[in-house]
């Protein structure tokens, strides 16, 4: 049973009194997130990623559609009891210290006494802010605030963690530490819902991703599925392929590209690649290497978004 399940979730923002203006932030979004996975929600700015998470946490109300988390309808306090959330551009009261900030949000989760203090201190240590606990957060850097935000989202040992651009403003070393922390949390069974436009990061840690653009889900799948280019091979030759060879190959393949000593062929069937190899050999050309092609998530994302823009 999925931990998060949405069905045709739609959000339309309305503004203006005289001239009503409507903006569809989400259009019929149906997504399921399984327990214990890292699910990445990708999309350009304004795609509706933040609105989607805010709806799940009842910060924004949907215009249409349904959603359940832990089998509970949206709005149930139990959802927020078991969830952690790191919003994008979060702001904490600047007069508090790091430790006091965690204590405040721990209290809002019902923690108190020594349990609260111990939890706050251990999380400060976990996110590398152990020595900064008693310093007012107005002195924190952007990266430190991001770490503190992550710690506050973990105060209640959440079953699901919603992170909106968690590595925004964090240096490369810090980003790696956060990635490792998220992997540790997944290993302990925490489900992680990651909103980001940092594609390489999402690719590195997510089990599944959904690509959202202009409020619509364009693609959902595992990272491996999305990044593997189906039946496309790159063939390195020891000499330049002749035009005659290309003409012989073309009827057998879906697509043929290449330059000089490299051929990129997309075949209809796996066995067709053997025929292509045979044709190359018949021309007296030696195949130096052949490998299936894999595109990066970024390549796929850009291609998908651009094709969507062109619609």
């Amino acid at each position: 049973m999925p931990i998060v399940h949405t069905q045709q979730l739609t959000k339309i923002y309305r503004s203006g009194f005289v001239k009503r203006k409507e903006v569809a932030a989400l259009k019929d979004v149906s997504i399921s997130v399984e327990r214990g996975e890292i699910f990445g929600l990708l999309g350009p700015n304004g795609a509706g990623k933040t609105t989607f998470v805010k709806i799940l946490l009842s910060i924004v109300f949907p215009t249409k559609g349904q959603a359940e988390i832990f089998g509970q309808k949206l709005g149930a306090l139990e959802i927020r009891e078991k969830s952690g959330y790191l919003p994008e551009n979060h702001r904490y009261p600047s007069f508090l210290t790091g430790l006091q900030t965690l204590q405040l949000f721990g209290q809002l989760h019902g923690l108190n006494g020594s349990v609260l203090n111990d939890k706050a201190k251990s999380l400060l240590e976990l996110v590398g802010l152990k020595d900064w606990g008693k310093v007012k957060i107005k002195r924190y850097s952007k990266g430190m605030l991001q770490r503190l935000g992550l710690a506050q989202a973990l105060m209640n040992d959440p079953e699901i963690l919603f992170l909106d651009e968690p590595t925004d403003g964090v240096d490369p070393v810090g980003r790696k530490e956060i990635r490792d922390l998220l992997k540790d949390l997944r290993a302990k069974g925490t489900t992680i819902f990651l909103n980001s436009h940092m594609l390489s990061e999402v690719e590195a840690i997510s089990d599944r991703v959904a690509i959202l653009n202009k409020g619509e889900v364009l693609k959902i799948g595992t990272v491996a599925d999305i990044t593997s280019t189906k039946l496309e091979y790159e063939i390195q030759l020891d000499q330049i392929a002749s035009g005659q060879l290309c003409e012989k190959i073309r009827p057998l393949v879906r697509e043929l590209k290449g330059n000089e000593k490299t051929l990129i062929v997309a075949v209809h069937d796996k066995n067709d690649i053997h025929t292509v190899q045979d044709l190359i050999r018949q021309e007296g050309i030696f195949v130096e290497s052949m490998s299936p092609r894999k595109s990066s998530l970024e390549d796929y994302f850009i291609q998908l978004i651009q094709s969507g823009e062109g619609k």
Binding site: I59, V60, R80, R91, F95, L104, L108, H109, G110, Q152
Partner: protein
Amino acid sequence: MRSLGMFLFTIREAILRGTLIFYFVVATIVIAFFAFAIRVSPDDGKSLMILGNIIPSTLGKGITINPVEFVLLQFQKSSASFVVFFGIFAVAGLIPAMLEKGTVELFLSKPLSRTSLLLSRSLGATTGVILNMMYFVVGIWLIFGIKVGVWHWGFLLSTLVVALVFFLFFSIVALIGLITRSGGFSIMFSFIIYMLSGLLRYRTTSLYRLWDNTVFHRTLDSIYYAFPQVGEMLDNSALLIGTSPFDQLKSALVDQPSSPYLPFLYSFISATVIYALAIRYFSKEDF
């Protein structure tokens, strides 16, 4: 426990605001002034002296007063208005501060209903002001007790009534703060309503004369009863100390309700409706 966390956080935030720190300094100066200025006359051992001058027990035209009660009464009346006036300044920004982008998401994502969140925030803001006021009033009360030997419990009790008045009036501040999400607007509109409420108090002897029309009169009445009656409640809170001879002059200008409790009842109903509107608005709004 969760609401308590928000409540305590709001008190801390309210106290740390510059305006309340300024208020604390002013209160300390006034307390220090009273500590030095007040004493019992060494001549008769009972007359009250301020800065070396004896406070007379008659005000002319045969009006007799209790000097200690009279001073406490005047002090309470001016400080109560000051508390409401200054309190709005100090904490009106707390509701909009909670709604700032990046902050509101953090609070709303916690397992606390929006009703609890708003009420604990409002109660915390009010308590922040009241704590400062208690410091002021208790300080003065102690000085009168120690230096003059008068431990006036009514004076202390009236503070609790002022606290209630402030909480009731804060309903307007909360509603405006929620709708406008601006501390400045919240302060401005709250003052307009505060002034309007004061003006409407004298409607029967002044505003009614502007237009002798029943609909106009009932409209003024409706506006008057729609908001907490701060002026009346503050005046009536002073009854716990005593009666001022100046009240007789004022009573000629305003409608005197049959019971001093009525303004509290009307204001309680009005504030309940305003808080309910604020909760409904907050519960339906996207952030």
